[in-house]
Amino acid sequence: MGGLVYYSSASGNTARFVQRLGLPAGRIPISAKEAMPAPALPHVLICPTYADGEGRGAVPKQVIRYLNDPDRRALLRGVIATGNRNFGATYALAGKVIAEKCGVPLLYSFELAGTETDIARVLAGLEKFWGTECLTMA
C-alpha cells in the first residue's frame, strides 16, 4: 500500500481526519521554514481548500511548494480534497486544481474533519486503489 501526505492549517480539521484514519502520513508543515516530508514511495495527497469567492488561492501555498518539486510530484498518484459545501461551487476546489495540474485523479472529497462515513470510504477506497495500482505496475 502506498503512502499518505497531508496539509492541515492551524484549524486542524485535516489533521483530525488523518489521525482518525490511523494510517502513517507525512505532514506538510504550516511554516515555510520547516522541512517538507520526503516520501520515498508513491502516495496520495490530502489537501484542504482555501479559495475565495472566485476560486483564487484554492491550494495552500505550502502545498504548491511541496508539489513544485519534480521528485515529490513524480510519486503523487492521487488527491483527496476537503472543503465546506457552504462555499458553493468552490467546494473542495483544491482537489480539482491539483488533479489538473499534476495529472492525477481526484479520488474523493469531504467536508471539514470528515464523518465516520468518510473515514470508512477513504480507508476502503485507498486499499482498493493501491491494489489496482500494484496490478497496473506489474
Binding site: A81, N84, L93, V97, E100, L106, Y108, E116
Partner: protein, 323 residues
C-alpha cells in the same frame, strides 16, 4: 496628581507584525468576498414569487424574518461581545468585519422583502417574530451566553452555534425553492450569506481552539460539556421551531436531517466530534446540490460521479505554480 498615573500606551494596529497568520488569511478572505444585496438581481424573482401559494409566501417571509433576527443579534451584540476577549489586535479587526457583514445580511432580507412582498405581509411577519415563542427562546438562550461577564470561550461556543447551526432551519427553505427552480436569485443571495457564515464559524471556532489549548484538562472538559449541553438545548428549540414552520408543507423531517448535518459541522468548527450519527444526517440530495451547485461529491473509490475525468482547467493566480 493624575499626571502621575502611569498608563499603558495606546497601540495602533500593525498588519505587518502578525501574531497569528490566520487573522490576515481570514481578513483577506472576508474582504475579497465582500458583497452588497444590490449586486443580486432580486427583481428577476418577482414572477416566481407570484407562483407561490399564499401559505408558502407567508412561510418564506417568516423564515427570512427569523434569519433577520439572528443577523441583528450577531451584528449588534454577538460579534461586538467578543472584541474584549480578542487575543490580537488583528482579531479585533476581523471581528469588526464580521459584525458589519451581519448588518449587510440583515439588510439583505429587507431588500428581498421590498422587492417581492407587500408591506402589510412583512409587518405581520415582524410581529410574528416578536411573538413566536421558539424564535424568541433561541435568541434569548444565545444572548444569555453573550452577556457581560460571561466566560469568553463559552461566548465563542454560542457564537459558532449561531453562525454554523442556528441559521440552517431558515437557510433550508431558499435552497428548497431553488431546487425547484423557484426564487433562484434570492437563493444566490442566500448562498453569499451562507458563504460568509461559513468563514465566521470557522474563524470563531479556530480562536476557540486557540483559547482551549491553554487550559488544564478539567476546564477543557467543562467547556466540552457546556458545548454539548448547549447544542442539545438549541436543537430542542430548533426542532420545535422547525415543526411549527414546516409541518404545513410536510418538510419537517427533511429540515431536521439538514439540522443534524449542520450541528455536526458546527461541532467540527470547535474541534469536537459529531453528535448525530451518519444515518440522521442524510440530507436530501436536492438540497445539497442547491447548496453547492456545479460541485458534485467526488467518490472515485466507489465509482460514482464523473470524477474519473481528471479536473478541467481552473483559474489559479499563483505565479509559482508553474511546473
Amino acid at each position: 496628581m493624575k499626571d502621575h498615573v502611569t498608563r499603558a500606551p495606546l497601540r495602533a494596529i500593525n498588519w505587518n507584525r502578525l501574531e497569528d497568520e490566520k487573522d490576515l488569511e481570514v481578513w483577506n478572505r472576508l474582504t475579497v468576498n465582500f458583497w452588497l444585496p444590490e449586486k443580486v438581481p432580486l427583481s428577476n424573482d418577482v414572477q416566481s414569487w407570484a407562483t407561490l401559494r399564499p401559505a408558502e409566501r407567508e412561510l418564506t417571509i417568516r423564515v427570512f424574518t427569523g434569519l433577520t433576527l439572528l443577523d441583528t443579534i450577531q451584528n449588534t451584540i454577538g460579534a461586538p461581545s467578543m472584541l474584549p476577549d480578542a487575543l490580537t489586535p488583528h482579531e479585533e479587526a476581523v471581528l469588526s468585519n464580521i459584525s458589519f457583514m451581519e448588518a449587510v445580511h440583515a439588510r439583505s432580507y429587507s431588500s428581498i422583502f421590498s422587492t417581492l412582498c407587500l408591506t402589510k405581509e412583512v409587518d405581520e411577519a415582524f410581529r410574528w417574530a416578536e411573538e413566536n415563542p421558539h424564535l424568541q427562546a433561541k435568541a434569548r438562550l444565545v444572548l444569555e451566553k453573550y452577556k457581560a461577564g460571561a466566560d469568553p470561550l463559552k461566548r465563542k461556543i454560542a457564537s459558532v452555534f449561531l453562525e454554523s447551526f442556528m441559521f440552517y432551519s431558515g437557510f433550508y427553505l431558499p435552497m428548497y425553492w431553488s431546487s425547484r427552480a423557484k426564487l433562484t436569485n434570492t437563493a444566490d443571495l442566500i448562498r453569499l450569506i451562507i458563504r460568509d457564515e461559513a468563514v465566521h464559524g470557522y474563524y470563531i471556532g479556530y480562536k476557540f481552539q486557540r483559547g482551549l489549548e491553554k487550559l488544564d484538562p478539567a476546564r477543557q472538559q467543562e467547556l466540552k460539556d457546556f458545548a454539548f449541553a448547549l447544542i442539545f438545548d438549541l436543537y430542542d428549540i430548533e426542532s420545535k421551531y422547525t415543526a411549527e414552520l414546516y409541518d404545513g408543507i410536510g418538510l419537517t423531517e427533511d429540515v431536521k436531517a439538514f439540522l443534524h448535518y449542520n450541528a455536526n459541522k458546527a461541532l467540527q468548527n470547535l474541534g469536537y466530534e459529531a453528535l448525530f450519527p451518519p444515518a440522521a444526517c442524510e440530507v436530501n440530495p436536492a438540497i445539497m446540490a442547491a447548496l453547492s451547485p456545479d460541485s458534485e461529491n467526488h467518490d472515485f473509490f466507489s465509482g460514482s460521479g464523473s470524477s474519473y475525468v481528471i479536473g478541467k482547467a481552473v483559474a489559479t493566480e499563483d505565479e509559482d505554480w508553474d511546473f
